[in-house]
Symmetry: D3
């Protein structure tokens, strides 16, 4: 089985706590030990947001801000690589080909962002398609896709199951307006739709859920099933 796991920066390293990174590493090592081929895409989290905030005040444009965000995701990727030790390709994959190469050699591959204009959510969806993954997991800071932002709307209901097309329909209106956020961004949702990739969105603050989701499909989040 081949899995791409997208781990939000705020989920991997909310405060650079090594035990959290270690826990994520252990889940991936466990999957690899069972013969699963795993690639991880790591987000930027709070450090990225802080740097981007400062750079924006200094007059950086959006492409420059994205570059800073990408740099931070790649440092976060180095943390996960350190936690994975001998199982992982020691280089942060710079593009899909690098990551595919590492998987072909039997390594776990870890990457961050790639190019301005694409979030790590979208990178994970494109990578899943590129390496022919059986499953794409978003380990994020909410426990699934809701009908509305659960932080803002107490009546928001979690979807247990969506088709990729429904995912796009749910996400599309969320991705308008400044500061909009969503558990998976619109470009990612559209790439999932394009490839018909089986996808799970789950609460990544408990890394063990990732392992359970891959092994038994049991995760308490949202299943996106083509």
């Amino acid at each position: 089985m081949r899995v791409v796991v997208c781990i939000g920066g705020s989920v991997l390293a909310p405060d650079l706590d090594p035990r959290r990174v270690e826990a994520h590493g252990e889940v991936i090592e466990g999957l690899a030990a069972e013969g699963c081929s795993v690639a991880a895409v790591v987000g930027g989290g709070g450090v990225a947001r802080d740097y981007i905030g400062t750079a924006r005040e200094l007059g950086a444009n959006e492409v420059q801000l994205d570059r800073i965000g990408i740099d931070v995701t790649r440092i976060n990727a180095r943390l996960l690589i350190a936690a994975l030790g001998a199982d992982a390709d020691p280089k942060v994959a710079q593009d899909y080909e690098d990551a595919g190469d590492a998987l072909r050699r039997g390594d776990v591959s870890v990457m961050g962002g790639v190019m301005p204009g694409q979030t790590t959510d979208a990178v994970a969806a494109a990578l899943a398609e590129y390496v022919g993954a059986d499953l794409l997991v978003y380990a994020t800071s909410v426990d699934g896709v809701y009908s509305a932002d659960p932080d803002a709307d107490a009546d928001a209901e979690k979807y247990g199951r969506l088709t990729p097309a429904e995912l796009v329909d749910v996400i599309a209106p969320m991705s308008r307006g400044a500061g909009a956020s969503a558990p998976v961004d619109l470009l990612a949702a559209k790439l999932i739709e394009r490839s018909g990739m089986r996808t799970i969105v789950l609460d990544g603050t408990d890394p063990d859920r990732i392992g359970t989701a891959v092994r038994r499909g049991d995760h308490g989040g949202t299943d996106v099933v083509p």
Copy 2:
């Protein structure tokens, strides 16, 4: 004044006719001669579509298809660079920083696609933001943004003027379903919205319209005004 022009591959080189490429080059040379700083982003057109069709039948995945498309856009960029001669940076810019560098040195910069998952439409929007363009022009195969695909719907009406947010609203429903096409794709529209970039969508089969649009804002297409 600084302008980014996105020239569709089917508009630049529908059948690799050098006179068409030459005509586009002359418009850009004219603008440069008047002191305008110009970057061009070139699409893939029919050659890209043919190669992608073949590769898809051979089992290539979407990321690989995008790579082929990007390669073709960069060859098209070389044609435009040849037409521009001494005015242009002789290298195809590989990313936004390369293009920005060339503009800072006073050259016209030409680029194609950049990364899988992003069309040249989106590249042009990101580049316009990165280089602080005053205007972004899409020279495409229709003469503006319509309420529906004018090829399919005889009642489609052309918009004379839209806000970036309205552009996103018009484009969003067009970008669903296989084979969907639009004069500007959704990621591009969202980048235009993010940056509040002044944008024109016009009929690029007559290259002179590009010059007129830049100089006098007179173009017969759709104005996107923040």
Copy 3:
């Protein structure tokens, strides 16, 4: 056994027909399945010629034309990689070291042109030498080396067997004058002479001949035997 196959662009993808590319891929897969180590060098064909013709009219110089040709050969290489699927290194080798690396790991390696001033014929000859090939096969649009251009001279006779030095002597006069063409170009012939590489020139429009030539040395073309 280790083989380098040089497949002319017009032989691999005369009209971008996927079945033709597929057929070439199957021959290579068959050889690889028998334990043969295979590298392929792919030419530019008609698409390269069309682009080069247009670029020349636009005033591009010979180095720029070569660059365009190289880009097209690399797209053609992507087609063959797609056809080969899991057997091939998914990256187009950019130089001899890349290709050698892929062969060492047990992959089929595919490359196109490398640098202006060198045709893919010469690249194949240099690659064969670099990877210590036992055999170099030119799958081209004629069925061997003739005493004169068989298209132009009805009395041209096909050589069944030549030494590398004789190959150079036959090729040298053919490579003078505008529009000159030869089944293997002069630089390639000289590299074959330098390395004393066993070489076959055969009709590549029937891909099966390549397999037969490698397995049984039976091919209906010209044998170059040091």
Copy 4:
């Protein structure tokens, strides 16, 4: 006049405060406006230390820790580039040649770390030599070189003036033992000695001191005069 300024990460962005970065940018812009050719080398500061601490606990080795540190210095460099706007080369220089190139074109160049095993202190000293600087300024968190660590030893006395050889003699014993720190590290001091570069170590928490030091040689720190 040509100056290389090494700005400690903790001095440039102790808490990612944009005003502090802005203030440093203004000093450099002021010097550039007066015709001074300026390159800046930026350190890692607290963010680097935090990441390195986490990675060390995860089992990363020293080279990997250095890589993380380098990545952070380059993000800090992006902040300073954003503050400098049009005066600076928008790319973070990756090596001495890149930085030299930018200075030759009249840009301010900003770089961070370069390779594991070399601090930004040493990078600045090597860069100063490479670009033929007239002056090298270390803007750090102490106001000069003391006879002992002023944080630990109340009797430490500040040197007003040292020769490069004396600088090495003072620094050498400081650079032993875990957690050792010094206002300029030993490799840097030895590079200063090798090139005989005029150098000033000053309190960088007040960016204006940098400008004063360059213009009038008045800075309240330590002068290293060959």
Copy 5:
């Protein structure tokens, strides 16, 4: 006027004597001071031959030997760059585009070899074409093109003037057999024929001849005139 000068390694640095390199640098500086745009391509000379001899005995193949030769030419290029100081692009150009870029910015550009299979003679001919040179000068260890190797044949006669086609005819037979040498190699001669480049072959052991040849066309060597 734009000139490409190809300086044989044995002519530039027969024994690494700095005065010889300095003398070549002064000729180029003189031309540049008169407004001439100059690119130099430097050969490998004795150091290259020594290393290649050793590597051949160790079993390196021809491509690996060429790589070693290229590395040496690039070190020789660094010597000439050091001699040229501020006039030259401090980076050794790695390909034609790099060299063209440097000339466009008004720098002297220096390069060595580029790819296995191409000598620096051929690189110079391709570069001359790429940058649109008015003149290509080969500064070599003989004082022109002879009817036979003057070292071996006392009756060899120097040609005062040849057409490019005649040059190819003279060179072709010289370039057969092991250890063959010629003042300009066959691939270079064919590139000169292809581009119709005006070319001079002269005695480079006296660097001043290069300056005289460029300024007055007076050089005592062989003129190749299309």
Copy 6:
């Protein structure tokens, strides 16, 4: 067992004698055949010194001189790679990650210098740490670390055993002053101290000592034991 061997240029190829390089290759092949994972770092030797001397007279600065030195070390690395044949990664590793990659795949990896400001001695120490070596061997032109330069001081005594901290103490005073030389340079010694790496300094003019030292710890040089 994993070993990094640093072979001085003057020890590997004092006069480019292939037998000497071959002898070094055989020692490494022997170790690899016994299952030892080996990386070699190769110095510059006499060729580097000659080129650097010439470039210094031509006015090159220290960074440029280091670049020349690095280029020569990499050519020397190619010689050793040729000698090693199929056991070695055919590419010269350009950084620690490349070398680590090759070792992970089971290849012998060979590298030279990396960046200006770091000798190959320091590169070897950093590489040993990066790849988690069990042992670092300096094969140099003296048979160990002495209390003073044995060439200059007849009373110099060889140390049989030192701690890393003692090594730094012994080396530090040697590394002052122009033309200073030491069997291991100061930056390397400090990296050895940082990592607590077991290290042997031995007479590399007899390559067999390297094999004996690795296998039996018997070498007649100096042991550095943490």
